[in-house]
């Protein structure tokens, strides 16, 4: 029984070791996952810029519709 348990533990540690060595696309998990934070802030910035550009175009359209851009 003890031998079996030891074998199981051994296998377990082997698979764990194997898991940590597997190469995956881990860029987003490197450096304390800082790239995730960069991504989150960029999403917010892109959303903000998208909104501002839309608002800008909307105001430009209103200006030409009301003719207030000539005054």
């Amino acid at each position: 029984m003890k031998k079996l348990l030891a074998l199981l533990l051994c296998l377990n540690s082997l698979t764990a070791a194997a898991q940590s060595e597997v190469e995956m696309a881990d860029v987003m998990r490197a450096e304390g996952k800082i790239y995730v934070v960069v991504g989150i802030i960029l999403i917010i910035l892109f959303g903000l810029f998208f909104y501002l550009f839309r608002l800008d175009r909307k105001i430009t359209r209103l200006e030409s519709q009301t003719g207030s851009n000539k005054s």
Binding site: I34, V37, I41, L42, T66, S68, N69
Partner: protein, 224 residues
């Protein structure tokens, strides 16, 4: 200025600068200092709020003086919307500063002279909007608030730039806390910090410009 508002090149520049400063601000290496640790990166985001606020209030007082000289409604719109955007950036500066102070100085409100001065300056500018809101006559409102705006700017400069330097402030560039000044000399940080300042000022101008143009459309519709 109003034709500049409708151009797009500086808006794309603003987008590029802010994306650059966000990525570089979080990833480029910074000086390793005790206590501040990685929060030194907050310099790239917290300080540009204040630079932006001072720039917005600067534009605001310029257009207030323009209003007093020419009495045109566009100058009044410019003055009020730049003051509005400056106030927004100032509030963001206070909030980011409180979060930063909590983890580096030990408490969100430290009674630091610069912190107190900035809070008083914001209150002075809030009174500008109280004054505007309390007057019904459009010309009276524009003229009185333009005069008050000159006072508000004259009060903000010593509150933020002079009084904190006369006392022991924990902000860099003042008395005390000399170890913090290391980053003032770091050229790598300047490469991110100055673009950030320009980017946030451009964003402030952009937001203010949209508000001014909306006010112009509204005024045009009322006149027709």
């Amino acid at each position: 200025m109003s034709s500049f508002f409708k151009k797009f090149w500086w808006k794309y520049l603003c987008v590029a600068l802010l994306i650059y400063t966000t990525v570089a601000g979080l990833l480029v290496s910074v000086p390793r200092l005790a206590i501040v640790n990685e929060t030194i990166r907050a310099l790239y985001f917290h300080v540009p709020m204040w630079f932006g606020m001072v720039a917005m209030f600067g534009f605001s007082i310029y257009y207030s003086i323009e209003y007093l000289r020419k009495q045109n409604s566009l100058s009044d719109f410019m003055a009020v919307e730049f003051a509005n955007t400056g106030l927004l950036l100032g509030i963001l500066g206070i909030l980011t500063g409180m979060l930063w102070a909590n983890y580096t100085w030990g408490s969100p409100w430290h009674g630091d002279p610069k912190q107190n001065g900035a809070a008083i300056a914001l209150l002075v500018y809030l009174a500008y909007f109280v004054l505007r809101g309390s007057l019904d006559n459009i010309e009276q409102r524009a003229r009185l608030s333009a005069v008050y705006n000159i006072f508000a700017f004259a009060a903000m400069i010593p509150l933020i730039f002079i009084i904190p330097r006369l006392q022991d402030s924990m902000h860099p560039g003042s008395g005390g806390n000399p170890g913090f000044n290391v980053y003032d000399l770091d050229s790598r940080m300047r490469l991110v910090f100055y673009p950030a300042v320009i980017g946030w000022i451009l964003l402030g101008v952009w937001v203010a410009s949209l508000q001014v143009r909306t006010r112009q459309i509204k005024q045009h519709l009322e006149d027709v």
